[in-house]
């Protein structure tokens, strides 16, 4: 119950608290709204459907293996290899034009509520495959909740994405979000310019 308080209660910044602990009682019970309770339950049990197609899969394995333990710590460990039993579609890697109908069908088979990760630059935008083979981003065919840029993204970036998604679920926010780089890309552009001018 303490966990419930800290997560659901602190989620709405500046808003009314959704969980109230009755501190006067010795038995200890909490009251909350049903939506807040549901969202809390959902965000800690994201059953994933890994749609792993390309080299980003290696980073996905690194993420799920013990060193980072990136999905188990957030309740998103259990993979379900049937889209009907999963909530979170991980699109990990390049999607070719031939695969696009299969991906769309998988998405349509998932039960509501469902969320989609675009893992890596190729899933987000097509990456450098600017040609006849590749779908230029999965958002061309299915809605996407979280974009995780990177080629492949570091496990930290994916963990950031998971936390961003949990935050969005708590707030009931369905607008797409992008994981921001931890390093400011503006400094990288300046680096390149200075190299070009030199």
């Amino acid at each position: 119950m303490g966990e419930l308080k800290s997560d659901a209660g602190g989620a709405v910044a500046g808003g009314p608290r959704t969980v109230t602990l009755d501190s006067g009682s010795t038995s200890g019970f909490a009251t909350t709204k049903i939506d807040a309770l549901l969202n809390w339950a959902r965000k800690w049990s994201l059953f994933k459907y890994p749609f792993v197609t390309a080299c980003c899969g290696m980073e996905f394995m690194a993420l799920t293996s013990p060193r980072f333990d990136g999905s188990a710590r957030f309740g998103a460990e259990a993979p379900r290899f049937s889209p009907r039993q999963s909530d979170l579609l991980w699109v990990v890697g390049t999607i070719s034009q031939r695969q696009a109908p299969a991906l769309k069908r998988i998405y349509e088979q998932m039960m509501e509520p469902k969320w989609v990760f675009a893992f890596g630059t190729c899933a987000s935008t097509g990456g450098f495959y600017d040609n006849y083979t590749t779908l230029p981003g999965i958002d061309k065919i299915i809605p996407c909740d979280i974009y995780i840029p990177g080629c492949p993204p570091r496990p930290e970036a994916v963990i950031d994405g998971l936390m961003l998604l949990q935050d969005k679920i708590t707030r009931g926010d369905r607008t797409p979000g992008i994981v921001k780089p931890r390093e400011d890309p503006a400094t990288l552009i300046q680096l390149r310019r200075s190299r070009e001018e030199a």
Binding site: Q97, R98, P101, F128, D139, P176
Partner: protein, 194 residues
Amino acid sequence: MSERVLQVLKDKFGDAIVETHSAWGDDTAVVNASQWKEVCAFLRHDPQMGFDMLVDLCGVDYPDRDPRIEIVAHLYSVARRHRVRVKARVGNAEMASAEIDSITEIWPGADWFERETYDLMGVTFKGHPDLRRILLYPEFEGHPLLKDYPANKTQPLIPYRTEEEAGVPLDKLAPFRADEGMSFGRRVWSRGES
């Protein structure tokens, strides 16, 4: 190493061998397209040649040349341990007469190579048992490895969502500036200029 093979070919086929060259141990014979199958059968069945392995078969587009497509086959003899590369040139600027005899009867393994070359370059292999697209989908129009196929043109199988549905901009952004990345892929090939 197998320059002797080239010499045998020149002696036997004469004018059918358009040119030969050797560089860094690779020996190449350019064959008249009409005698492609005949030369291949000789290379396969002659006991002195014995090229029992078709390593690769592909096409190359040289848009400024006429004929523009070069069919390239790499052959290897397991027993004699020599290899040779044979080429044939087909197809004019409009890809008319881009056809050549299939060599699947000589090397059954040529089947998928020829389908791939047909798929990506648009070369027709006469006598091929099942000449269909192998990598791309049947709805695809054109042949993407020809240099005049636009480098970033896509042919989606399912319609893209509109921006109203998506609620986010869906422009396809070029990943590189004009001067970086594979800039050669963005060159517009036009006939008559080189």
